[in-house]
């Protein structure tokens, strides 16, 4: 089974890092993973999105997909292109603190997560994407929270290690917030085969 999860937001919101951590966590759990991110010209403030494919067997999909199983939106800006990739039943995670657009598709499973708010409460509004990823993990069981925390620690470059504690808090806050397994990624957990 190949599960596509696409992330979108404004540069600086931690979209790439969020996807990366989720991918790394899945790798730790012996899933097959493919991850591809794009961002606009300047470092922050532009559009940014990331496509993560997690599978229980070698991946056949190319790194850009036409349809996605799940979508994560940290902000309504730049959300438009993603909308087109949703199919009936797609799971949509919205950062309800900032997401302001009308949302009129009833064929989707929408999960609202006040990610920025959760992070702000911890004192680091910019860790919103961590809270979101935590929520995704809870709602989909695509990875476990411990893998996530470990992956986050691995991913932080040396000069950002000081953020680890806050990030972990945000991951856990998101994980706590979301209802468990409301949109399960795997019908049943298969043990990783030798290929993983």
């Amino acid at each position: 089974m190949e599960r596509e999860i696409m992330f979108t937001g404004i540069g600086g919101q931690g979209v790439q890092l969020g996807a990366q951590i989720l991918g790394l966590a899945a790798t730790r759990e012996d899933r097959h993973v493919m991850l591809f991110g794009t961002y606009g010209g300047s470092m922050r403030g532009g559009n940014t999105d990331s496509t993560l494919v997690v599978a229980d067997a070698p991946i056949s999909s190319p790194p850009i997909v036409s349809t996605t199983w799940a979508a994560v939106s940290m902000h309504h800006q730049y959300w438009e292109p993603m909308r087109r990739k949703l199919t009936a039943g797609s799971v949509v995670f919205l950062n309800s603190t900032l997401f302001e657009e009308e949302f009129d598709r009833t064929d989707l499973q929408v999960i609202e997560v006040p990610a920025t708010e959760l992070a702000t409460e911890i004192g680091t509004p910019l860790a919103g994407s961590m809270a979101m990823v935590g929520a995704v993990a809870a709602a989909t069981s695509i990875v476990g929270i411990d893998s996530l925390v470990q992956a986050m620690e691995e991913s932080l470059p040396g000069y950002r290690k000081q953020h680890a504690a806050d990030n972990e808090k945000a991951l856990r806050a998101g994980f706590e917030f979301a209802e468990t397994d409301v949109a399960p990624a795997w019908t049943q957990r298969e043990d990783s085969n030798g290929d993983g």
């Binding site: 991918g23 493919m34 591809f36 794009t38 961002y39 010209g41 056949s60 850009i64 036409s66």
Partner: protein, 355 residues
Amino acid sequence: MTRRLMEGSEAMAEASIAAGCRFFAGYPMTPFTELLESFARRLPEAGGTCINAESELEAVGMAWGAASTGARAATGSTGQGLSLMQESFSEMTRAELPMVIFNMARGQGDYFQSTRGGGHGDYRHIVLAPADTQEAVEHTQLAFDLSDRWRNPVLIYGDYLTAHTSESVEIEPMEFPELPEKDWAVDGTLGGTGRSRTVNPLGVDKQSAGIDPEALWNRLQAKHDAIEREEVRVETGFLEDAEVVVVSFGGVARFVRHVVRSLRQEGHRVGFVRPVTLWPFPYEAVAAAAESASRVAVLEQNAGQMIDDVKIGVLGRAPIVAIGGISTDPSGFGVGDILDPAVIHERIRGVLSDA
């Protein structure tokens, strides 16, 4: 070594080091930047040197100097930066210097530049165009081997996808047949003996009265012909009864392969030819595929460049349809609309229904 989740850029740097690369110089530019960063981080640990060159012109010069000493050296860039290096690429090829060049392109608009040489004069690089991360790792190692073997620069045509897709890869040093000794490389030890060496693009040898272009050229031309004979690489799929043959390369070919596979599942008679080496170009494979097809579709992410080579291969055997186009994404990084399986699916369907 086991499989690790690694970004293409990092994997290519690791593969280079595994292949014995000890010198890299480059200047940041998206999507080449991460390759440079990976080399900067990893080469010193491996006993090599990575210089954050102050410009692409300086980067290629440094790599040229390093290669002259016999070290396995590489450089690279993206678009603009590659253009700036063309003077050096041309002359380095005449100097018969091994060198690996990473073109982490924005789209596929550099096909002409890569395959025909963007610089002055007659020269060619061997061009390898990997389609995914694991292949990028293998091509990187192959590039160092071919480059030393032929004493000719080898260019790897990557792109934003190759650079930025993370996948599980395995990096094992590959085995190659033994290479000739680098007796032409300068190490300083032969001064004063009358046998000191010259690494020289002008065809001037020690003690010579001047340029001997004929000898130089005959050697280069013979090498050129030999490479064209011996180094063609191509991947084909589903060609047997294909009515439509799709030709594409590099990162785009990965999409085409995926889409053709699903079209076959839907029962369509479609196959693909994927040049793995862009130079030498697999003219024969394209000609053979065109023999029985009723249409050859060319999908490239540019205004139409490889199509010239496809025409030269097909030579009128079947009509050729361009179904690609330049990448029009606003980032300018070459990640435009074409890179969508659904779009490619539709375009190939279009050709199928005309066929």
